[in-house]
């Protein structure tokens, strides 16, 4: 056990003296964060023409349903919006707050009732303040839809009244106005509500999360380099001739990569904050947990790379390729929402995906409990990679 940490400490020292390693693990991510993050605006659902909105219909009568049909049935509206019909008002609210949805329409439970009673009633249109234009378009679409529906309702009412009048009922007294429902276009107020907090993530913050999530895995490559180098230069054989067991050696190598990853993470976290003013969110504990979990995955990946690659050359090929694949599917480069659907299964096994999502969630206010499932996934991936690598590792 003692020798495990002796080996880990030695490995960490050796990597820290490797200029190429420092360049790849620290300078490259900071440079890329700066370059990619300098693009204007923010990331997520921008003001594009595919505006994500949701409708929550809580109405117990059928007026609400008519609204929904009016909004979802139109070709023009479909071209502009991705409309999701949901019945979880809370989830939709959070999604708008997080910026996952641009806007939403929430239809209250008493809509039909109030209209029938001729009382004023409000529809709630939630908007993400980060995309005012798209939100505004949605609000006007809703208003038009309401006007349309109101006109229909009024027409129906009038028709009913007239049919009733022509029937058994005695004619109304002359001069008396027809009994119109008091519901008018104005009676259905469309309240535009801005989501409360601006949880938009700036480009620089997005890429800080993305690149950190990607580059934290690069420690694995240098760890694997170290292993094959020790095998070639016989320091591995020399270690094996000491009373330290194979388990201490493998464990020490893994913990060395983990230590390097944690140090790298600290530098990137502090570096992005100081250099670019990145806001990693309010919950440092959660951020550190997410980052540390990925350093564990990097340690596991180091073992797999050391087992698969016979030389620095082959590891230098396999390592970055695997990391790039994890990173591309994990949202390091472009938001995962914009990826082709067939890549989604790969995401689940990408430690980068869970890590980047975790970082972004904490930036938007997630707590330790919120990130735990992702952290668990990353640790599981790391454990599988470690087990596989250790099983296939060759010492001579």
């Amino acid at each position: 056990m003692h020798t495990l940490f002796v080996i880990a400490g030695k490995d960490a020292k050796v990597i820290m003296r490797d200029r190429a390693a420092l360049l790849v693990m620290l300078a490259m991510p900071l440079a890329l964060i700066f370059i990619l993050g300098s693009a204007l605006g923010s990331i997520g659902q921008g003001d594009s023409l595919d505006i994500d909105v949701a409708i929550v219909n809580m109405d117990t009568g059928d007026t609400g349903q008519r609204f929904v049909e009016g909004l979802t049935g139109s070709k023009e509206i479909e071209a502009l919006f991705n409309i999701d019909v949901s019945d979880d008002a809370e989830a939709v609210r959070t999604a708008v707050e997080k910026g996952d949805l641009t806007a939403a329409l929430i239809i209250p439970p008493d809509l039909s009732e109030k209209i029938a009673a001729g009382e004023p009633v409000g529809l709630e249109v939630l908007q993400d303040p980060g995309s005012k234009i798209a939100g505004g378009i949605w609000a006007s679409v809703v208003r038009a839809g309401v006007a349309n529906a109101s006109a229909q309702i009024i027409a129906v009412h009038t028709l009913q009244e007239e049919l009733a009048g022509a029937g058994a009922q005695p004619p109304a007294s002359p001069g008396a106005a027809p009994r119109m429902p008091s519901m008018t276009f104005d009676a259905v107020a469309v309240r535009e509500i801005e989501a409360q907090v601006d949880k938009r993530i700036s480009m620089i913050s997005y890429y800080s999360a993305g690149m950190t999530g990607m580059f934290l895995l690069f420690g694995s490559m240098f760890g694997a380099f170290g292993f094959v180098k020790e095998r070639r230069e016989q320091t591995l054989a020399r270690m094996l001739s000491t009373p330290a067991g194979k388990l201490s050696i493998v464990g020490g190598k893994a913990v060395g990569v983990l230590m390097i990853g944690v140090g790298q993470f600290a530098v990137l976290l502090i570096g992005t904050k100081m250099l670019f003013g990145v806001d990693w969110g309010q919950n440092l504990g959660a951020t550190v947990l997410v980052g540390a979990a990925e350093a564990v995955a990097a340690a596991g990946l180091a073992m797999t790379l050391a087992a698969l690659g016979k030389s620095e050359r082959s590891i230098g090929g396999i390592g970055p390729a695997a990391i790039m694949l994890f990173a591309a599917t994990g949202g390091s480069m472009i938001p995962t929402e914009q990826l082709p659907k067939f890549l989604l299964p790969v995401q689940v096994i990408s430690p980068v995906y869970w890590t980047v999502s975790g970082f972004l969630d904490v930036m938007r206010g997630a707590s330790v409990a919120d990130v735990l499932p992702g952290v668990g996934a990353v640790l599981a991936i790391g454990a599988v990679l470690f087990a596989f690598g250790t099983w296939r590792l060759r010492f001579e």
Binding site: I7, T235, A237, P243, G245
Partner: protein
């Protein structure tokens, strides 16, 4: 004093190839035991089996009463190993390298610090201890390589060709170091293909070739192998294969072979051979610069036993 290392009928194969083929020897506590043989003889394979890097395919090795087959950890605790390759971390300093290897053997704190200081003194590199090993000369690296194997004061030190490829000054320093360590009570197994080193250092010597021990004993005992023969060393330029054959054909020559820039001839009586030898060489255009008749050395023993030179 009993034997501290016992190698019994050791066999080690790599696939179909038998690198160590039934080797037996034992090393007494406190002695320097030499394993002499040309490249490929099986010296490193033997040492690797003793240090538990390779497991035997036959036979056994017992160190301090512990078998490599059943108690590898206990064996490793008795040993210090100086590998044939320089097995150090080039980007760490000499002091950092030594501290690392000391910790691997469980040293810590003040014990570790003083062991590192002693080891640096042993290597004669106290004043450059903070420099990275990659900046060192070959000889300095070799010395740190040795220091890293002894700083935990092992009972038995295994040294695998520790002087390969270095300048004479560093070599002398290393040979003296081995003498000093042994004087301090350390048992040493020293392998080499340089007979002078083994002659200088070792109490007993095993000569190894093709995975087998072909002779074993003290230097004097080994000389006896050559019997009453004289050894003629001829310093001569360009001896071609046909010339060598002609020399071997001279009556009275029992063996002849090329060494570095010389020709070595074994004969029961040098007087009867010298004249014919010089005549043969000169007539074939090989220019003789000097001729000496000496006592047999390990080179001649090897030549006598195998018909070839140690440094082929």
């Amino acid at each position: 004093m009993g034997s501290i290392v016992q190698v019994t009928d050791l066999v080690k194969r790599f696939g179909d190839f038998t690198a160590v083929d039934g080797v037996s020897f034992s090393i007494e506590e406190g002695e320097v035991f030499g394993l002499l043989g040309p490249n490929g003889a099986g010296k490193t394979t033997t040492i690797s089996t003793i240090s538990c890097l390779l497991s035997p395919d036959g036979g056994d090795v017992v160190v301090g009463g512990h078998s490599v087959s059943g108690a590898a950890m206990a064996v490793k605790r008795e040993l210090g190993v100086v590998p044939q390759e320089i097995a150090l971390y080039p980007t760490l300093s000499a002091a950092e390298n030594l501290a690392f290897w000391g910790r691997m053997y469980g040293l810590a704190g003040a014990d570790l610090a003083s062991a590192v200081d002693d080891a640096l003194a042993l290597a004669g590199l106290e004043d450059r201890s903070k420099e990275r090993v990659e900046k060192y000369s070959g000889g300095m690296k070799r010395r740190i390589n040795i220091a890293a194997g002894v700083l935990h004061r092992p009972k038995v030190l295994l040294m695998d060709e520790p002087t390969v490829g270095i300048d004479p000054q560093s070599r002398n320093h290393i040979l003296q170091t081995v003498k000093d360590l042994n004087a301090g009570g350390m048992t040493v197994l020293y392998t080499s293909h340089y007979m002078e080193e083994v002659e200088f250092l070792c109490d007993r010597i095993a000569i190894m070739d093709h995975g087998k021990i072909i002779a074993m004993g003290t230097l004097n005992e080994l000389r006896e192998v050559v019997g009453g023969m004289d050894v003629i060393d001829v310093k001569v330029e360009n001896v071609s294969d046909p010339v060598l054959e002609q020399v071997r054909a001279i009556p009275g020559v029992s063996q002849a072979n090329r060494t570095d820039s010389a020709l070595q001839v074994l004969t029961p009586g040098s007087g009867a051979v010298l004249g014919k030898l010089v005549a043969t060489l000169e007539s074939e255009g090989s220019h003789v610069t000097s001729i000496t008749v000496t006592e047999p050395n390990l080179e001649s023993v090897f030549l006598h036993l195998t018909g070839k030179s140690l440094r082929d």
